[in-house]
Symmetry: C2
Subunit: 194 residues, 2 copies
């Protein structure tokens, strides 16, 4: 190797992710990005190739951080149902200081992009389905722990949970009233039990 990059690639992707998450794909210019990560166009394009490619990296990182967050909740909670609850409560209400938007970056992306960016669109869909699968697995664990009825379908209930997360976060962005959201979340969980 002849010369080594001065910047930390992961850090750059993280900063890009935060910008994309806040402003969306279209409203984030490559200049914005270059300023945020302190790279000149040459290094920038040598490292990532295109705006789309960097966005793709940002999506991957977002999903992986979301996954990590769920793992943290698993460490702090001993019941699977408790993990789901803590996870949902966390992403919907609790992370104002780390999140640049009330809404999920993946949801913002499928809301914003069209078939013109079908690769990024499909990637977002796939990552959302991953989360849904993780929730389904947690529900299976909850069934074994006796906290969730064995007569219910885990995959179906996971879809239900995804609908609730998407709905609640969007509603949160619209109403900005955590109190209301919290009570809706409570009701949702009591609906789940029977």
């Amino acid at each position: 190797m002849a010369n080594v990059a001065k910047y930390d690639r992961d850090e750059v992707i993280h900063k890009a992710m935060m910008l994309f998450w806040e402003k969306g794909f279209n409203a984030t210019s490559t200049r914005d990005l270059q300023d945020a990560v302190n790279l000149r166009p040459g290094s920038f394009y040598a490292a990532f190739g295109s705006k789309e490619a960097l966005f793709s990296e940002a999506l991957k990182l977002y999903a992986s951080e979301s996954h990590d967050y769920l793992l943290n909740m698993s460490a702090e909670n001993d019941s699977a149902m408790g993990v789901i609850r803590a996870f949902m409560q966390g992403i919907i209400l609790g992370r104002k200081k780390v999140a640049p938007s009330e809404m999920c970056m993946l949801v913002k992306t499928i809301a914003e992009l069209t078939d013109e960016h079908s690769v990024l669109l499909e990637q977002s869909r796939e990552l959302l389905k991953n989360t849904e699968r993780q929730l389904a697995q947690l529900l299976e664990k909850a069934q074994q722990e006796g906290e969730f009825s064995k007569h219910k379908s885990c995959s179906h209930t996971a879809s239900y949970l995804m609908v609730q997360i998407m709905g609640l976060r969007t509603y949160m962005r619209n109403s900005q009233s955590p109190k209301l959201i919290e009570s809706l979340l409570d009701e949702m969980f009591s609906n789940l039990q029977h």
Copy 2:
């Protein structure tokens, strides 16, 4: 009056709305709009002043058409609960041929725009709250008709319905599976009854 415009203003706004609804605010260029409505820049800016102003008109029209759709459902259904159900079923599943996106234009807008366009953002929020108020009124009617428990709060349940609509439409865009959505919608309504 000296000369009269050749175009139909309402028709122009409608076409602009369809484009904005499909592609979002940022991805729709003023050129796209001018082509779609067949107006040269001069006429275009004489008529609307700015891209933001036309988008604002489009939002108003969207909300008013949504309102009209709810009125149609009211004409076709004699129970208030039936109206709510038909309305939700319609916007979530049934209007593939008229809607350029699975998602609500107002939701797409609050998802896409930031404080940089605070006027449009606030307008979208306000229009969504109007729909919520209409739903609350229908629930009150449903209470009088004995189809919805008088022990429940109508405004609270209206929030709940908004969460469901937002969630289901977003999920629809992600999964593209009407069957699943329909069953989730059914469950939601049975949850409502008790």
